[in-house]
């Protein structure tokens, strides 16, 4: 920077920490278009997360298991409270609900194939159950959503579990929108709406309004399915203690809790980034609710929202969850945001790793699209193989950590195996700040 003409130095320009370049760009975009930003995915902002926790591992006071040879059970039973046929999974990592419509048929098939190979479940989404998905998923959870698009009693009875979706982490309190460009003849037919129009998914169910109604709704679903299959209730991470309590009161076999990092096919960016809580802040409160009701482990807890690695899985188990769900990570395993498509991402005005316009249907990886040419890029057999590999790696990673903590079962991990790197994470996870025996809000302390 040049000095002033008189030779005096200039004031150095300072970029505002409040009005950053990205903030300013969004203001200019909004001013030019008059349209708020809609995108897919979950929260991108940095929030306290599993990376802020560490396992302590074994030492003199803890006895480790041999890392490769000694058994470490990863199986989990879901739906043991009321269902005649609870679900047994080989691994506690399930595939989250994602709709046919938001995803291509090939992507849904790949998810089913991969989940089945790995011994876990996959989940339908808004728009109903497709034959391909049912056919390729040994264990399929059927989402019962406010829109009831494609919902029918035959599919309900053809499912291995039913998940009543009250909310999701990306948008607690919000509905959804599948934009018209993804509404092909088949998607339109399944949803009983004209081709090419935007399809709104309501934010609340059409025939019940509160926990007392929900209890009766679950009674109806159980009567319809002969009390055979588990009923899950999925909520977004908003008020985990009370939502978990009410879900149990309403009769849930399983509570699914989704933090703000959990993805969506499409909603407003402002919603994704500013509504709901990080999953780290939700798990212990949900577990506390279950413990207060004497229902921990009797009603199972599945958590989701930013689960990426076996370490994340192990941390969720240690905090008291019975299983996790992955959505975004599974799509990445299939090939979403892969740098091999960088040229095409550039053409769409983005870059690999940042592509989130899933609602527009132009996904170069053939995953969040209904375009036949793009969809053909995803081989569902190869996609299934990749997902299975990824799930295996996550499981092995989690086992490695569990053994190092002396546990012969993933679910034997406990909060005492953890410490936190930050005050925030310590407060949210209710585990000690590293090097201390204390966390903010700990009973018996004054801070």
């Amino acid at each position: 920077m040049k000095d002033l003409p008189n030779g005096a130095p200039r004031t150095v320009p300072i970029q505002s920490a409040t009005f950053t370049n990205s903030v300013n760009a969004e203001i200019r975009r909004a001013a030019a278009t008059g349209i708020y930003d809609i995108r897919g995915g979950g929260a991108k902002r940095k929030v306290p997360h599993f990376d802020d926790l560490l396992f302590l591992g074994a030492s003199i006071s803890r006895y480790p298991l041999e890392g490769y040879r000694e058994a470490c059970d990863t199986s989990v039973m879901l739906g043991t409270r009321h269902a005649e046929n609870p679900i047994k999974l080989d691994i506690p990592i399930t595939i989250a609900g994602m709709s046919f419509g938001a995803l291509s048929g090939a992507a849904k098939e790949a998810l089913g194939r991969g989940a089945t190979l790995a011994g876990t479940s996959t989940t339908t989404g808004d728009g109903g159950m497709t034959p391909e998905e049912r056919g390729h998923s040994k264990t399929l959870v059927y989402q019962y959503l406010p829109s009831r698009y494609g919902m029918n009693p035959d599919d309900l009875r053809n499912a291995d579990a039913i998940e009543v979706v009250v909310g999701q982490g990306a948008k607690p309190g919000g509905g959804g929108m599948l934009l018209g460009q993804k509404i092909t003849d088949r998607v339109a037919g399944m949803r009983n709406l004209p081709k090419g129009i935007d399809q709104r998914s309501a934010c609340r169910h059409p025939d019940w309004t509160g926990p007392d109604d929900l209890e009766i709704k679950i009674l109806e679903l159980r009567e319809l399915t002969g009390w055979k299959v588990p009923i899950y209730i999925k909520v977004g991470g908003a008020r985990p203690y009370f939502d978990t309590t009410l879900a149990v009161k309403a009769g849930a076999d399983v509570v699914v809790l989704d933090g703000m990092q959990g993805g969506t096919a499409a909603t407003q960016d402002v919603f994704i980034e500013h509504v709901g809580m990080p999953i780290l802040a939700c798990i212990r409160e949900a577990v506390r609710a279950l413990e207060d009701l004497g229902m921990h482990r009797e009603v199972q807890l599945i958590v989701s929202g930013g689960v990426r690695t076996g370490a994340d899985v192990a941390k969720c188990m240690a905090l008291g969850a019975d299983a996790v769900s992955i959505g975004t990570a599974a799509l990445i395993a299939l090939g979403d945001n892969d740098p091999r498509w960088e040229t095409e991402y550039q053409a769409l005005g983005t870059t690999a790793g940042a592509y989130d316009d899933w609602h527009e249907g132009n996904d170069p990886a053939g995953i969040s699209t209904q375009d036949p040419e793009l969809e053909a890029r995803l081989d569902p057999v190869e996609g299934g193989r990749r997902l299975n590999n990824y799930l295996k790696v996550m499981t092995l990673e989690a086992q490695t950590i569990a053994r190092a903590c002396g546990k012969n079962k993933l679910h034997n991990l406990e909060p005492e195996d953890l410490c936190a790197l930050t005050m925030e994470a310590a407060a949210m996870a209710k585990v000690p700040l590293a090097g201390t025996d204390w966390w903010p809000g700990k009973s018996g302390t004054t801070f």
Binding site: T33, G34, I35, Y36, I38, S147, R148, M151, N152, P153, L156, R157, M177, L179, G180, R191, N192, L193, P194, I197, D198, R200, A202, P206, D207, W208, D213, I216, K217, L219, E220, E223, L224, T225, G226, W227
Partner: protein, 225 residues
């Protein structure tokens, strides 16, 4: 005629017996006594049987019905015939909120009044109400027909898609994107058949037709408020 007394038969046993009937069943006539407002009566039926409920029912009576004819000789609680696929449900008295919600097919006949959100998100069902319907009826209604022989409450047909609404009486207000539409011969013909099916002696010519202005079909920021 098979009679099931809910004073002595559990709901599970009642529904299991009805759900066990197959297409070729000889036991086509069923009577349920002492329902006393129980919830989830006769849900998930899938056979051409006729079930008469002698009294009033709670939530979700005849929910997700297929093929069966369910006759409620009383009033029905919330969500009667919700997500019905086919068949017929007749309510002699009044129906509470969400009657026929998300119904895909079949016919729901309410001889009294229906409360709020009648036909919410309906997806092909035909609903014929002899009396009035409450507010927000046919909210986000996708397809099918809602016939109201009396009056409609506030915000009728809010955010409606392709469903057709026929109202003989007054409409307190129309919801977003719902407008009055021309009653053409084809609609008179259609309504004549619906009224006959619903056992109404009203004249089709006395009705007005309402439907979607189709202005909300694709996202537009000017409609976002």
């Amino acid at each position: 005629m098979q009679t099931i007394d809910m004073d002595t038969t559990a709901l599970r046993d009642l529904n299991a017996a009805l759900q066990a009937q197959a297409n070729e069943t000889n036991q086509t006539a069923w009577e349920i006594v002492n329902p006393k407002g129980s919830h989830a009566i006769a849900v998930g039926l899938d056979a051409p049987i006729e079930v008469t409920v002698k009294g009033s029912t709670g939530y979700y009576c005849a929910g997700m019905n297929k093929q069966a004819t369910v006759h409620v000789a009383g009033s029905a609680g919330p969500g009667v015939a919700e997500n019905m696929m086919s068949g017929t449900v007749v309510i002699e008295g009044d129906a509470s909120q969400y009657a026929g919600a998300t119904g895909n097919g079949g016919t729901l006949i309410i001889k009294g009044n229906a409360s709020s959100r009648c036909g919410i998100s309906m997806k092909g069902i035909d609903i014929i109400v002899h009396g009035n319907v409450g507010h927000m009826s046919a909210f986000m209604a996708q397809s099918g027909n809602l016939v109201v022989c009396g009056d409609a409450g506030e915000a009728l047909g809010d955010s409606i898609y392709e469903a057709r609404l026929f109202v003989r009486g007054s409409v307190k207000s129309l919801g977003a994107d719902c407008i009055e539409k021309e009653m053409r011969d084809e609609h008179i013909s259609m309504l004549t058949e619906l009224l006959a099916r619903g056992g109404c002696d009203a004249k089709p010519e006395d009705f007005k037709r309402y439907g979607s202005a189709r202005q909300l079909y694709n996202f537009n920021i000017d409609n976002a408020y």
